[in-house]
Symmetry: C2
Subunit: 158 residues, 2 copies
């Protein structure tokens, strides 16, 4: 689709730089590489995936820096953490979707589908309000099996 190394929209790149400077943090090559890598990853990715991708842009990026950058990226709202109950965490770029997303997680082939579930916003707030608590986040996940039938790959390709 393009021949350049980085196909992250200029605008997002600027947003990230603004975020860093507004927090008094420095704009480093490593942070930019990690950020770009996060946005070139197709779907969901792990810290290790991100390290691999970022190193393709800047091979000086270390694992520690990736782990130190991830909280910054989530705090900036540019990526979000997607905990699917595995031993390691997944992340995804916040490309679009401002409504609440549920995940359908296929155990057989490690596929994660994001599904719009706007009514959940209401559900969580209602439940928490009844208990007198402040809602800070919600998670709605359906765990499935495709029995390696390949149906997940088909749907994902759709």
């Amino acid at each position: 689709m393009d021949a350049t190394k980085v196909d992250v929209p200029e605008e997002l790149d600027e947003n990230f730089k603004k975020f860093l400077t507004s927090k008094g943090l420095r704009v480093t090559n490593q942070r930019l590489a990690i950020f770009s890598a996060a946005f070139t990853c197709e779907n969901h990715f792990t810290a290790e995936d991100l390290l691999d991708s970022a190193r393709k842009l800047d091979d000086s990026v270390s694992r520690a820096t990736v782990y130190r950058a991830l909280p910054l990226l989530t705090q900036s709202g540019l990526i979000r953490e997607v905990d699917v109950g595995k031993d390691y965490k997944y992340y995804a770029a916040n490309k679009d979707a401002k409504t609440f997303q549920a995940q359908v997680i296929c155990e057989d082939c490690d596929t994660i589908f994001e599904i719009d579930a706007p009514f959940m916003e209401w559900y969580g707030k209602t439940v928490a309000e009844k208990l007198g608590l402040t809602t800070v986040g919600q998670r709605l996940q359906v765990i499935t099996k495709c029995h390696k039938s390949g149906s997940c790959k088909n749907i994902a390709a759709k």
Copy 2:
């Protein structure tokens, strides 16, 4: 409420033994201690909590045995895993509640509330069906903060 070490209903104890023998597994003192401990834990517990409790009943119980027993306990349906997005897993005895449960998780004081959410059964099955996948589990969680106001403890005591 009682003076004996173990206050697990005789009936449940028998269920666990039956489960073990039906699978061709052996009934050992360690497994019984772990099982009893799981049912004497008030709310949700971690593997480490379970180890501590089990050791009060039988101090020969080792960490490895707890970790090896947990899959058996969940497979038997007597306890269930409750993944709340922390680095370690929580478990809870399946004392009652046959309907789907959602969790309200207070980040400030590590409290987990179980809430009946029967309609979720329908939601998950519908979504997965549309994708042609088989549902094997669901997770609905609301993450909250009580700002250490003590409201969680009050609700829990209710």
